[in-house]
């Protein structure tokens, strides 16, 4: 028994030390590094910060806009729902003290029905290194796991183990199915070139034929709460908020009605500019999935967003 324990503990100890050196010392917290990039970029030259899920990420391409008039930075990301967006903005403003005057938030029924909130797989929890913030900590305990929250809070090195790029690279490999449709290959290469600058990868999963299913016709209390907190955070920091709804295929779905009624009433009541492109661009061949436009369509959508922002700028 003694020999078993001795050898096991020795090997376990060596494994831990080597992992620590590999994942922490050699690459001191890539999560933090990625966020630092954002902070530097925003501080340097950004007036408009785009936030939201993959629909924000793929619909709005800042480099297509007239950059002399609009300085836009898009940090929309696959699976980022309202809780993540709120926490990310809060951390950027309060911990990193970024100066931002305008925020464009992409919203739709998927952001409000809990499906994306904090549960999307393989996504970046940028705020995993900000667990000292009680809002972040509480959200982490609620949506991830209190043990993980405690572990990462005490041992930040674990964030690098859990969110290692290798894992995500492997898990995001469905991208290889991009060559199912010819134009996706070209778009993919372009997008990689574009997104690669800021994010290193692009989580495309092309299948416009897979229908959206299992979404509930509801506005989740959690999402509503985080949305209100997001609006309040913008108000407190004197940030002008814009809401944007990306186009999706088969847009006349009954389960989006509750959201549409709510958001129209809310934006009118609070005087928040809202660009609703829900049913624009119903061109099947121009989508990668039911909810994600291909590159060429994203150019057109970006131009619409540009016009919308310029209108309010004047």
């Amino acid at each position: 028994m003694k020999q078993f324990l001795k050898k096991s503990l020795l090997f376990g100890g060596f494994l831990l030390v080597s992992l620590y050196l590999m994942l922490f010392k050699l690459d001191p917290s890539w999560v933090e590094g990625r966020k630092q990039q954002y902070v530097e970029q925003i501080d340097r030259n950004v007036d408009y910060l785009v936030m939201g899920s993959s629909r924000a990420e793929h619909c709005i391409k800042p480099n297509v806009m007239d950059t002399t008039k609009l300085k836009v930075f898009n940090i929309g990301e696959d699976g980022h729902g309202l809780p993540s967006n709120y926490l990310l903005l809060k951390v950027l403003l309060e911990k990193y003290k970024v100066q931002i005057n305008h925020v464009v938030l992409q919203v739709d029924e998927f952001s409000f029905n809990g499906s994306n909130g904090f549960s999307s797989k393989f996504r970046d929890d940028y705020f995993v290194t900000d667990l000292q913030d009680s809002a972040v900590y509480n959200a982490f305990c609620r949506y991830r796991n209190p043990y993980i929250a405690e572990t990462v809070k005490d041992f930040p090195f674990m964030a690098n183990v859990m969110y290692n790029d290798f894992y995500k690279f492997v898990r995001r490999y469905p991208l290889v199915f991009k060559n199912r449709i010819k134009f996706l290959e070209r778009s993919y290469q372009k997008n990689i070139a574009f997104f690669g600058i800021d994010k290193g990868y692009s989580p495309f999963f092309p299948d416009p034929n897979v229908k959206i299913e299992n979404y509930r016709d509801t506005i989740e209390a959690d999402d509503l709460d985080y949305f209100e907190r997001f609006v309040d955070l913008c108000n407190r920091n004197h940030i002008k908020l814009y809401l944007f709804r990306a186009p999706i295929l088969e847009c006349e779905r009954s389960d989006s009605r509750e959201f549409d009624e709510y958001i129209h009433a809310f934006t009118q009541k609070n005087n928040i500019p809202y660009l609703d492109l829900k049913c624009d661009y119903q061109i099947h061949s121009q989508y990668w999935t039911q909810t994600h436009p291909a590159d060429s369509l994203a150019n057109l959508i970006t131009k619409d967003v540009e016009k919308f922002l310029l209108k309010y700028k004047q």
Binding site: M1, Q3, F4, K7, S8, F11, F14, L15, S18, L19, M22, K121, F122, R144, N145, Y147, I148, V161, M162, N164, F166, Y167, V170, R171, Y173, P174, V176, F177, K178, N179, R180, I181, F205, D207, N209, V210
Partner: protein, 473 residues
């Protein structure tokens, strides 16, 4: 509780420590600890199903005692026990299937009925623990096993946590003596257990879960893929299901070794089989053995002429398919294997490769062996398409799509290194499935352990749970 979760490690370490602190001198206390730990392990999913498990254990224990007595009612007790076990299994696993099939049949003759369907989750491991219980009562009835008087010992046999949810399906005559014997700590056995666990985790977490990412979209949207991508996806699924299930079995065997138990092997490198018969001598051995002993042989086995043997073989394969789930795809999968088995049966070649290992004593197989292995693998892979597809028509449509752009570049080829690494590792170890990762050079051995650990750590599903495929059966 899933093996591939942090929770499992947090559970295993204290249970292991406590078990050996109690010591083999206090057998009852060790048994009690295993029982409580196993109930905790199982209840972690849903404590309500724990009641079903305990109920099933009590019933079979009782039937065992009744069958152990000289009585003219022995046959009745056996029938009642079978009705009880199969009743639970049929109710939870097959009720909806039978009702829907019945409804469809009536609809065909113009009757529309609207029966009530069950909307409850299938209790995890039900197919495995009911088979445990059934083997116990069968063996007592056939005087191959004496009834266990000690309830604690019997309960541990049914619900020993490493094998509770997906096997291996143990026999009372093999496991109960181990449960009732004092076992001092065996260092070599414990290390062998850790090595098996390491290899099992590698197969599950690194290989199977990664390939699952490529397999899922291909089976979901096969109509949009070119033929070469579909063939590759089918091959990936073959490797995925093997990595998943044999990975689970290795972890189960390894964990049991840590507690001093030796379970049956469930896999013996099945993809190095030279024909279908050899494949079935290497794939899911505990289930194959169960069906052989409690279905094939009672039906007459191979002792009543060719036609009866063929009939019995088909029955076993069809039942085996149906055991996997209430879906025609599984039955069809069983049928395909029966058909593939048939030529070997007719030419008396089912035992050609029994107890032999391919390329024995050689580093590489001969061309003939390579051809035999490849053809067997491809046949098995084709059958897996039915197993993996949601419906029979999906599976047929999958095959129809294969000629489409077959000679174009396949999607997902980037995952091939995972397949190659696994097959190379398995080939190197193909002589002994219970003694994996035995590398003579000390430093190289530890380096391999380290590499495997790092890969597991990097692939581990910390934030997203990944199930084992066989948990649904």
């Amino acid at each position: 509780m899933l093996f591939n979760s942090i929770t499992f490690f947090l559970f295993l370490i204290p249970v292991f420590t406590l078990y050996w602190l109690i010591g083999s001198g206090r057998l009852r206390a060790q048994q009690a600890l295993i029982l409580v730990a196993s109930y905790f392990f199982y209840g972690w999913w849903d404590w309500r199903f724990l009641l079903l498990l305990i109920g099933s254990t009590v019933m079979d224990y009782g039937f065992g005692l009744l069958l152990g007595k000289e009585s003219k009612h022995r046959k009745l007790w056996l029938v009642l026990s079978i009705v009880n076990n199969l009743g639970v299994l049929l109710f939870f696993k097959y009720y909806n299937f039978f009702i829907e099939s019945f409804q469809l049949m009536l609809k065909g003759i113009g009757w529309n009925i609207h029966p009530t369907l069950l909307h409850i989750a299938l209790p995890v491991g039900i197919s495995f623990y009911t088979f445990h219980g059934m083997s116990y009562v069968f063996d007592i009835y056939r005087d191959k096993q004496k009834p266990v008087r000690n309830f604690l010992g019997y309960a541990v046999f049914v619900c020993f946590f490493p094998l509770l949810v997906a096997g291996p399906i143990e026999r009372a005559s093999h496991l109960i003596p181990q449960i009732q014997a004092k076992k001092p700590f065996n260092t070599a056995q414990a290390f062998a257990g850790l090595r098996l666990m390491l290899w099992g985790f590698f197969k599950k977490v690194v290989i199977a879960d990664t390939l699952a990412v490529a397999v899922a979209p291909a089976f979901r949207g096969h109509e949009h893929l070119n033929g070469s991508s579909l063939v590759l996806a089918a091959i990936y699924f073959s490797i995925q299901i093997y990595g998943d299930f044999s990975g689970y079995s290795d972890i189960a065997l390894g964990t049991s070794k840590l507690f001093g138990f030796e379970l049956y092997s469930n896999f013996r490198f099945p993809y190095f089989s030279r024909n279908i018969a050899e494949f079935w001598q290497r794939w899911h051995l505990s289930l194959t053995g169960w069906f052989r002993d409690y279905l094939y042989i009672p039906l007459g086995g191979s002792k009543n002429g060719k036609w009866i043997t063929i009939r019995n073989t088909f029955i076993v394969f069809l039942v085996s398919g149906f055991w996997h789930g209430a879906n025609y795809t599984f039955i069809f999968w069983g049928l395909i294997h029966a058909l593939l088995f048939l030529p070997l049966l007719l030419h008396n070649k089912t035992k050609t490769f029994r107890n032999s290992v391919v390329a024995e004593g050689k580093a590489l197989p001969s061309l003939k062996e390579l051809f035999q292995m490849l053809s067997t693998f491809l046949l098995v892979t084709a059958s897996w398409v039915f197993f993996r597809s949601a419906t029979l028509s999906d599976a047929l449509s999958f095959f129809k799509q294969i000629p489409d752009r077959f000679f174009t570049k396949p999607a997902g080829w980037e995952y091939l290194p995972y397949v190659i690494v696994l097959l190379m590792g398995e080939w190197y170890q193909r002589h002994d499935e219970r003694n994996v990762l035995q590398i003579k050079n000390h430093w190289l051995r530890y380096f391999v352990y380290w590499i495997l650990c790092v890969l597991i750590v990097l692939h581990f599903p910390y934030l997203n749970k990944t199930q084992f495929i066989y948990f649904q059966f």
